[in-house]
């Protein structure tokens, strides 16, 4: 079943086009990743889905409610966590959760069951009486997550939830997301971390307000490009300067980046032979499977 359906969505800020003809569907229990560079329109898209911003045109339905007609009903089915931490710093962990439970009209019985469960799941149970301002960054994110989950939303919308959170907390956070997705919650998450994109069931790449790639992470990687990893052959590395290498390689490749002492290049599908012929003496050449990052770099070059 489609929990979220977006058709031909556009958004203008004055005359500036922020989103251009966006369409996608999300199924029950899917984790839907929105990836893209800063300013691509990720936050704008999420804010339109939550009803904070109004769209310019297009159709959006969430849980079969049209956002134009039943925005208020949709609010009971969605949970939103914005980029900024925005719970109440002087309230304790428990008071913050209870506050949002109260606003959503969650009954005491429901709160007891679900609140405890969420607190244990996130490991915040021991910090119930601590004021939110005294929590660490990772714990704050988890508290914000609980507050958006307390009313059992069918669709969870998260705007770069793990920005600036340490790797361990990030992994915990994603485990929680996966647990909820398995229980049937659809999750829309924007991220700029490519490893997180790999954890999604479906991703879109937004670039300058348009979707330039759409699909699941495995599909997306089957593209008409190959990725090579070059490591220098001992002896040549001092003979030629780095600038020279880059200058000579550049015309042959789509994208070039450094990874430790190695150079990563993306080539067009048919470009490997020519490249090997030209630079085989300079480098050890290894073909590797493309990462999502490679895919996006390639896509944005087009």
């Amino acid at each position: 079943m489609n929990t979220v359906s977006v058709k031909n969505l556009t958004k203008f800020y004055n005359k500036q086009k922020a989103l251009d003809d966006i369409s996608f569907d999300i199924n029950t229990g899917e984790i839907f990743g929105i990836v893209g560079p800063d300013g691509a329109g990720k936050t704008t898209l999420l804010r339109i889905l939550t009803g904070i911003l109004e769209k310019t045109s297009g159709k959006i339905s969430i849980m079969n409610f049209d956002i134009d007609k039943d925005c208020e009903k949709i609010k009971y089915h969605t949970g939103y966590m914005s980029q900024k931490f925005n719970l109440y710093p002087t309230l304790t962990v428990e008071e913050n959760i209870k506050f949002f439970a109260g606003i959503f009209g969650v009954s005491q019985q429901e709160y007891n069951d679900r609140g405890e469960y969420l607190l244990n799941l996130t490991g915040l149970a021991n910090f119930k009486t601590r004021q939110a301002k005294d929590l660490s960054g990772g714990m704050k994110q988890k508290l914000a997550l609980i507050s958006t989950l307390i009313h059992k939303p069918d669709v969870l919308i998260l705007d770069e939830p793990t920005l600036g959170v340490d790797p361990v907390s990030r992994r915990d956070f994603w485990q929680i997301l996966q647990e909820f997705s398995q229980k049937g919650t659809s999750i829309i998450v924007s991220t700029s971390y490519m490893d997180e994109a790999e954890l999604c069931n479906k991703i879109i790449l937004l670039f300058e307000g348009r979707i330039i790639i759409q699909g699941n992470p495995v599909e997306v990687k089957k593209i008409d490009s190959i990725v090579l990893e070059l490591s220098s052959i001992v002896g040549t590395q001092h003979a030629v300067s780095l600038e020279n290498i880059i200058e000579t390689i550049k015309p042959f490749v789509v994208d070039l980046s450094f990874k430790g002492e190695k150079i990563r290049v993306i080539l067009k599908k048919d470009g490997k032979e020519a490249f090997t012929k030209e630079f085989g003496k300079l480098f050890h050449i290894n073909e590797i499977s493309p990462s999502i990052e490679d895919v996006f770099m390639r896509a944005m070059q087009k």
């Binding site: 309230l91 506050f99 109260g102 009209g105």
Partner: protein, 378 residues
């Protein structure tokens, strides 16, 4: 309806916790009392104890009698008596005294002969308030002195020319017979403090939600703008009313301000003023995106209200154009109501014009605020 009420309650509880945890209780309850003390003791519009020097070149019984009149009132402090005219210059220039009474050599002589004599009264005009007060008080004393001498003389001839008609003014000042400025000040202070604890603090608290992004988190919930607004301002309504009671009681106990009216009427009409303040506070919050902006906007509202409400300066003394402007200051009506209830014990019907004005103000501002707030929130 039940969920709506419980949502308002949730916001209310949260706000109360925020006020308590943010250590704002002393600020909202104790600070107003301190403010009242400052205003009560410092801002007094009466001028007393004006320092005076007398240059007595007559050195006679009449001149001594006149000097004693000046030294026996609390309006003047007799600093020195000299008989050298040159002392006037130095004393006034150095600022030792604010005014000088100079008695001519032939003072007694002329009085005894029944001739006209004049005294010189010199004041330091650099502080015009003190200067004009000194002249006022001084002329009254001298006038009374002259009248005394006149009636003494007349009494001597009374047998010959019969009774002399004498018209005297019996001054009666009602409601504040001693013209104590604290009596008019303290009721006015309630108005001022209400502006601070309701308008300023509430608008800051509303803007804070915006500044910290909490509002965004609330927009995505089913809460309605009016529920949010009501829950947010309810604590400040209560604190405002508590402050009214506190200052009233403190004013009565510490400054012996009379309270002749009905306390319930005072609270009911204060509620009206609180609504005006909260409405303006909400409007300010909708046009400000940071607490700093809100603070500055609040000052822009507060200052003219203070100056043009008759709280410190009497409206009657203002230029006509400014007097018209005072009609748009809500504090003007509230200050009249406060003074009316405190000093005159006025009833609701007697205060009807002010109440009507304040009511219309509250209604218009509240509707505007809710409309504007709805727009920014949702």
């Amino acid at each position: 309806m039940k969920t709506s009420k419980s949502r308002i309650l949730k916001i209310f509880q949260k706000e109360i916790l925020h006020i308590i945890r943010g250590r704002m209780v002393p600020l909202l309850v104790v600070a107003p009392i301190l403010q009242m003390l400052v205003f009560g003791y410092v801002v007094t519009t009466e001028i007393k104890h004006i320092s005076i020097m007398v240059v007595d070149r007559s050195l006679s019984s009449y001149s001594r009698l006149l000097i004693s009149k000046f030294s026996n009132v609390e309006y003047f402090d007799l600093k020195s008596v000299s008989n050298d005219k040159n002392d006037i210059q130095t004393a006034l220039t150095k600022g030792d005294v604010k005014c000088v009474l100079s008695i001519p050599e032939d003072f007694e002589e002329k009085i005894k002969k029944g001739e006209k004599t004049s005294l010189q009264f010199i004041t330091d005009g650099s502080n015009s308030n003190v200067g004009s007060a000194a002249i006022n008080y001084g002329s009254i004393i001298i006038y009374n002195f002259s009248k005394e001498i006149f009636s003494d003389k007349m009494r001597q001839f009374g047998n010959i020319i019969g009774h002399i008609p004498d018209i005297t003014i019996e001054e009666r000042i009602w409601f504040n017979p001693e013209l104590r400025s604290t009596d008019t000040m303290i009721p006015g202070i309630i108005g001022l403090i209400l502006i601070i604890v309701t308008m300023v603090v509430a608008s800051l608290s509303l803007v804070k939600e915006k500044e910290y992004g909490n509002i965004e988190q609330l927009i995505v919930t089913p809460i309605k703008p009016y529920e949010l607004l009501l829950g947010k301002i309810l604590p400040y309504i209560i604190i405002g009313l508590i402050d009214v009671v506190f200052i009233t009681v403190a004013g009565i106990l510490m400054f012996h301000v009379p309270f002749r009216g009905n306390i319930l009427l005072l609270l009911a009409l204060s509620l009206l003023a609180i609504f005006v303040n909260l409405g303006v506070g909400t409007l300010i919050s909708t046009i400000s995106s940071t607490q700093q902006q809100a603070m500055i906007s609040a000052m822009f509202f507060m200052l003219p209200n203070m100056l043009l409400s008759g709280f410190i300066f009497p409206i009657k003394n203002m230029p006509q154009i400014i007097q018209y402007i005072t009609y748009i200051m809500p504090l003007r009506y509230y200050v009249s109501i406060l003074r009316g209830i405190f000093l005159k014990g006025l009833t609701f019907m007697e205060l009807l014009p002010e109440v009507t004005a304040l009511f219309i103000y509250a209604l218009v501002v509240s509707i505007l605020a809710l409309k504007k707030f709805k727009k920014t929130v949702g």
